[in-house]
C-alpha cells in the first residue's frame, strides 16, 4: 500500500467520524412537546417568541443568574422558561428567541439564550417604506 493511500484513508476516516459525531453529539432544534419526552441528559434548541402578556421576572438582588419568562414555540405552545443567566438587555425587543437547555418538571431550564432583534446589522428597508 502506498503512503498516499494511507493518508487518503485517514482523511476519509476523520471526515466520517466528524460527520457522525456532529449528528450524534450536537443538539437538535425541537419544540416543547418533544422536549418533554426527550432524553433528560440531552439539551435541545427551541426557537420561538417571547410571550409578552405573561410576566417576566428578574430579581438580580435575589439571584442575578435567574430570569423567568414565558415563551411560545413555533407550534404555539407556551411554556415557562427559567434562564440560568442574567436577563439579556433589551429582551423585550426580541423578535425571535432561541433557548438551549432541557425540560425540568414544570419549566424549561435554559442554559443559554440567543435572540434576534428587529434591527441587527442590516435593516432600514422596512422603516424606509413608511416614513
Amino acid at each position: 500500500m502506498k503512503k498516499t493511500h494511507i493518508i487518503a484513508i485517514v482523511i476519509i476516516a476523520v471526515t466520517i467520524a466528524s460527520m457522525f459525531t456532529m449528528l450524534n453529539n450536537s443538539s437538535t432544534y425541537s419544540d416543547f412537546e418533544d422536549a418533554k419526552e426527550a432524553d433528560p441528559e440531552e439539551s435541545v434548541h427551541i426557537a420561538g417568541t417571547l410571550v409578552r402578556e405573561k410576566p417576566m421576572e428578574y430579581r438580580p438582588e435575589l439571584d442575578p443568574n435567574k430570569f423567568t419568562f414565558y415563551m411560545a414555540d413555533q407550534k404555539g405552545n407556551q411554556q415557562k422558561v427559567v434562564l440560568l443567566k442574567s436577563k439579556p438587555q433589551d429582551f423585550e425587543r426580541s423578535q425571535q428567541v432561541v433557548i438551549i437547555g432541557k425540560m425540568k418538571g414544570d419549566h424549561f431550564e435554559a442554559k443559554d439564550v440567543l435572540m434576534k432583534c428587529p434591527s441587527k446589522y442590516n435593516d432600514g428597508k422596512n422603516t424606509a417604506a413608511n416614513p
Binding site: 485517514v10 443538539s27 437538535t28 439571584d63 443568574n65 440560568l84 434591527s119 432600514g124 424606509a128 417604506a129
Partner: protein, 895 residues
Amino acid sequence: MKSIDYIGEQAWWGQLGHALVIVAFVTAFFSALINYFRTKSPEHNETWKGTARLFFNIHALAVVGIFLTLLLMLINHRFEYQYVWQHSKRDLSMNYILACLWEGQEGSTLLWLLWHSLIGLVLMRTAKDWEAPVLSVLSMVQVFLAMMLLGLYIGETHIGASPFTLIREREENVGLPWTQLADYLQRVPMFKDGRGLNPLLQNYWMTIHPPTLFLGFALVTVPFAFAVGALLTNRLYDWQKPALPWAFAGVAILGTGILMGGAWAYESLSFGGFWAWDPVENASLVPWLTLVGAAHVMLIYRIKGQSLYTTFFLTVISFLLIVYSTFLTKSGVLSETSVHAFTEDGLNQELVLFMGFFLWFSIVLMAKKNWLRWAYTGITVLVLIMFLQNMVAVGMLILLLTSITALIIGHRYFPKEEKEEELWSREFWMFIGAIVMLVASFQIIFYTSSPVVNKFLRIDFLHNFFVSMHESLGWKWLNTLAEARIAPDENVVYFYNKWQIPFAVLVTVLIAVTQFFKYKKTDTKQLRKQLFWPFVLALFVSGVLSAIIYFNESFGTLTANKQRIILMSSVLFFSTVFAVLANGSYWLSILKGKIKSAGASIAHIGFGLLLLGALISTSKKDTISQNTSETDVTSIAQEGNNAENIYLRKGDTLPMGEYLVTYSSRSREIKDGTPYVYFAVDFLKPQETGKAEYQFTLRPFIQLNPMMGNAAEPDTRHFLHKDIYTFIKFVPMTSLEDSASSTGDQFDDPKNYTIAVGDTIAANSSIAILDSVRKVSESHPLYKSEEIGVSAHFTVIDNNMQRSNPVAYYFVNTTTGSTSQLDAKDPNTGLKLTFWKVRPENGKIDVYMAELLSKKSDFIVMEASVFPAINILWIGCLVMIIGTFIALRERIRRN
C-alpha cells in the same frame, strides 16, 4: 405618468456610479475574454497585449472611480441615495467615513473589487509570461464581483444590488405616496439625516479590519489565478515559483485580518473572549488554514518537485472556500446560528452562480480527460436548469457530490511524480502537515455549515428517505437527519476545542521537528541528537507548568468532560512549547541566528506562542464574578447555576476573586450623537491590616444604540501576566435614561402594606420600620380642631446603615368624614410613605410605599473574568506576522 422634478436631488451621482459599474463590468468581461484568447493562442499573445492591458487599465480606473464616487457621496451627505442614507449621518466624524463605505454588503464587495484591481495592475507589471492567463482568471472573478453591484433588472429578476440606487427607486418604496412628492427630501423628516453608521462599529477597528481581511481574500485569488492559468496553458510545472510570494503574502495579510477581528472582539465587543468559534469567524479561518497548507506544498514542489496535484488542489480550494465563506456570511443562510452574519439580502443567486462557475471551471480543468469534462459539464448544466426552476438546495447537493466524484476520478489522470517521498524527508512531513491543516479545516467548515446541511436535508426525497430509514432502523441520529434539525452543540466552544486540539497537537509537533529534516533523506541519528534538548526541555517546562496550573487540587472536582479537555490541553501545552523551543534552537544552532533566512523559524515560533497564549488564557479563564450578595436574601442559587454574574448596588463593596469591588458611580456621555453610560467599578485589595487599598477603576459601559439596541462594551485592565476583563450584563432601565430630564422626581408604582408597630417593610435599596403610631396632640403645629390626626413614625435605614426618621400623617374630618394625608418623604433614600388607613380592629395601619425612580435600585449585574497569559497570544501574533514578512521578503529577493 409625467415625470416629477424632484427638488434637491442630485441624480447625476447615481448615474455616474451606475455608469462606472457598467464600465467596470464590461471591461472586466473583455479583459477576461481577450486574455483568455491570448492564453489559448500564444501566436496572438503579443498582438493583443496592448488591447488586453487597455481593457484592464480602464477596468481598474472604473473601479477606483466607483470607490471615489461612493466616498464623495458619503462626504457630501447625499441622503437621497439608499446606501448613503442607511450607512452615514451628518454629525458622524469624518474618521468613520471609510467605515461607512464598507459597512454594507455592496461596499464590502466594492472593497474586494478594488483590491483585485490594484493587484491586477501589479501583476501586469510583474507576471511576465504569466500575464495573460493570470489576468484572464482575475478578470473573470471581477466580472462576477462587478455583477453583484450592477443592480439591473431584466424582467422580473434583478442582477446584483447597486449602492447607487435612490431611495425612492428601491423596489419596496416604488409606488408609495411620498415618492410622488417633488419635495420629499424637504418634507419627509427622516430624509433630513441618514440613519448613520451602527454605533457598535464606530471604532478604528472598523476602519482597518475589513480592508485588511479583504486584501487577504484578494491575495488568495492570485495563486488561484496562477493555478488555473497553469491548467489553461498546460504549464503545470512552473507556476508555483511566481505564485509562492503571493501565497505567503496572503498567509500574512489574511492572518493579520483574522487576528484583528479577534482583537476587536476582545477589546470592544462583549463576546467574552477573543475567539468564539462564531460561524463568521470560522468562515475566514478555514481558507487561511488551507492557504497555509497550499503555501507549504508549493514550497515542497518548488524545491523537490513533489506533491504536484496537492499544490493545485489546495490553491483552488482556498479560493473556493473564500467564495463559500462570502456566501455563508452574505446570503443569510447562517442567520440561525451566527450573531453577526448579514441578514438575507437577495444576493443568494449571484453568489451561488459565482461559486458554481469557479467550481465547475476548476474541476473541468483539473479533469484532464474529455469524457470526464463533458460528463461533469453536462451535470452542471442540469444543475443550472434546476437552479432556474428554484430547486437551489437539490442543485447544490448534486453539484457538490458530482464535483467530489469528478475530482476523485480526475486525480487518476493527473500527471504524477515518478516516485514517492522518502519517509525521513522534510517534504513528506511538510506534506502531512498540510494535510492535517486541510482535515482540520474540513471539520470546522462542515460543522459551521450545519444550516446548509439542514437545507439539504429538507429536500423531499432525502427527507422521505431518512424518515423511512428511521422507521425501519429506529436509530436516533436518523431522526435528526429526517427532521433536518441539526443544531450546534450546546457548548460550541467546547465542541470545537475538543476537535481542534488534537489537530493543533499534530501540527505543532510537525512544526517542531520538520525543519530538522533534510529534503530527500535525513540521518535519523543526527536528527535525534538535534531534537534531544528541545524535547527534554519542553517536556520539563510544560510538565512543571501544567502540574501547577492544571493538575492542582481543583482537578479532582471537575466534571469528566472538563478533565478530558484539560488532559488534552496539557498535551497541547507540551507540543506548543516543543515547537517554540525546537524552532528557536534551529534558528540559533543551524541558521546561526541569522535573521534574513530565519523567516520560517520566526513565524513558527510566533504560531506556537499564539497557540500557547490562546490555550492558557482559554483553559484557565476564570470567571471571578459570582453572586456574593445573598445577604438579605433567602433564595439559593439553583443546581446547575453557572453563577457568572455579580450583583452590585451602588456604594456596596463585595468580594470578587482576590479583590473587593465597589460600584462607585455612573456617568453619561454623548459621542458622535450616541449616548454612552459608564459604570465605574473600583477594585480594591484587602491588606493585612484589615483595610482595603485602592488599586484601579474599570469603566465598562453601555452604548445606547438606537439601531441595534443597547450594547454592552467591556473594559479591561491589562497586566503583564493577565487581563481583568469586565462587562455589564444588566442594569435597570432607569440607569440608562437621562436622569436629569426623565425620572428626576418620578416615583415607581406604590405598593400597599398592612403593618403593625415593629413591622419592617423592604424597598429595593432600603428598609422602613414602623416605630410607633401616635395621635396628633393639640400642641402639634398640624393640629386642627375639626380633625382627628394620627401620625406614623418610621425609621428608614439605607444600604450604608444611614438612619432617618420620617413621619406620615393621616387626618379624618370629624364633621364631613373626609380624609387627608401628609406623606413621609425621605430625601436620602427617595422613599415615600403614605399613611391612608387605620384598622382599629387589630391595631394595624395601611401604608403605601413608593420609591423615587432615580434612587431606586441603582445597581449593575456584571461579569468579570481573568484571562491569564493573554499577552503571549498577542506577542505570538506579532512574531508570526513579522516572521512571515521576513520569509516573504527573502523569497521575493531570491526570485
